[in-house]
């Protein structure tokens, strides 16, 4: 299993990349900065599984919390509203 690079509370940035294939990182969150809420465990990489490969070593999976106003510049709700998304480690870099 790949080691977890980030700890809860750490700030991370989602890669702004658009590779082809089966990707579990939603488009709208790419390039956004958030904070690790928790480490969910490690799971076989779904991008590899979709290609009928084994997806190993398992990738650490994080739940990352983003402020809505940092995702949508014109967000109409309260400034403290948040969104949490599960993101695999290889999609994250330190922010």
């Amino acid at each position: 299993m790949s080691e977890a690079r980030f700890k809860p509370g750490e700030r991370v940035k989602v890669l702004k990349a658009y590779p082809p294939g089966h990707i579990r990182t939603p488009h709208y969150i790419r390039g956004c900065v958030g904070e690790v809420e928790r480490i969910c465990g490690a799971f076989p990489n779904p991008e590899e599984l979709a290609q009928m490969r084994d997806g190993l070593p398992p990738q650490p999976l994080y739940r990352v919390r983003f402020l809505q106003k940092n995702i949508w510049p014109d967000y109409a709700g309260s400034p403290s509203d948040v969104l949490e998304v599960e993101i695999y480690q290889h999609w994250l870099e330190p922010a």
Binding site: Y28, C40, G41, G77, S78, D81
Partner: protein, 204 residues
């Protein structure tokens, strides 16, 4: 209009692409001896038997038993096993509503849903409208469900994009002191565990 109504009225409707695919695949699997019709029927029956009452039992237990609630928030799947709810493959995260935070669940990529606890998802949960707007303007979507969240309450939306599944633990309605678990569970709707509603009150 439902298929059975159509049938009664003698209306003919051709099979949709996906219906045809399902029948073809099922017949092939049976023909090749990989599955039997009885196994397929049993699995469909099994899926139908999972209803939101399962989730409601979990919520009611958390309302009456603070120790269970703590364990549920720590590890949803393990806590459910305590109630005899075996949830193969489900990695459950329960998220707690408080006077300061309102949680809601969506899956923008497809329609991930804690089926083992809530059964088959409603059609609107799978709709493009809900999936795209719930992350973009959650307060407006919740208002359309009849739920107005005060501005000083944080709205926390969970996009279930990967391996975890989410369930909202709603707040226990006021005026239910001393109620039994069974009576409490009857207040807990499916929608309140998705986060687009709150449980009924004792007088609703």
């Amino acid at each position: 209009m439902s298929d059975s109504q159509d049938k009664e009225q003698g209306k003919y409707r051709p099979l949709s692409y996906f219906q045809l695919m399902e029948i073809s695949l099922r017949e092939l699997l049976v023909e090749k001896g990989i599955l039997t019709n009885a196994q397929v029927d049993a699995e469909v029956e099994n899926m139908r038997s999972r209803t939101p009452e399962r989730g409601a039992r979990v919520v009611a237990r958390a309302w009456v038993d603070p120790g269970f609630k703590t364990r549920l928030l720590q590890s949803g799947t393990k806590a459910c096993e305590e109630l005899g709810l075996d949830l193969p493959g489900l990695k459950l995260i329960a998220v707690e509503n408080t006077p300061q935070v309102h949680n809601a669940i969506v899956c923008t990529l497809c329609s991930c849903y804690p089926r083992m606890l809530l059964g088959i998802p409603p059609d609107w949960y799978k709709s493009r409208n809900y999936r795209s707007r719930m992350v973009r303007e959650p307060r407006a979507v919740l208002r359309e469900f009849g739920l107005s969240i005060p501005p000083d309450v944080e709205v926390r939306v969970h996009d279930s994009t990967a391996d975890m599944r989410y369930m909202v633990l709603p707040m226990r309605p006021a005026g239910t002191d001393g109620w039994s678990e069974g009576r409490l569970a009857a207040l807990v709707s499916r929608d309140s565990m998705i986060g687009v509603a709150v449980p009924k009150g004792p007088n609703d």
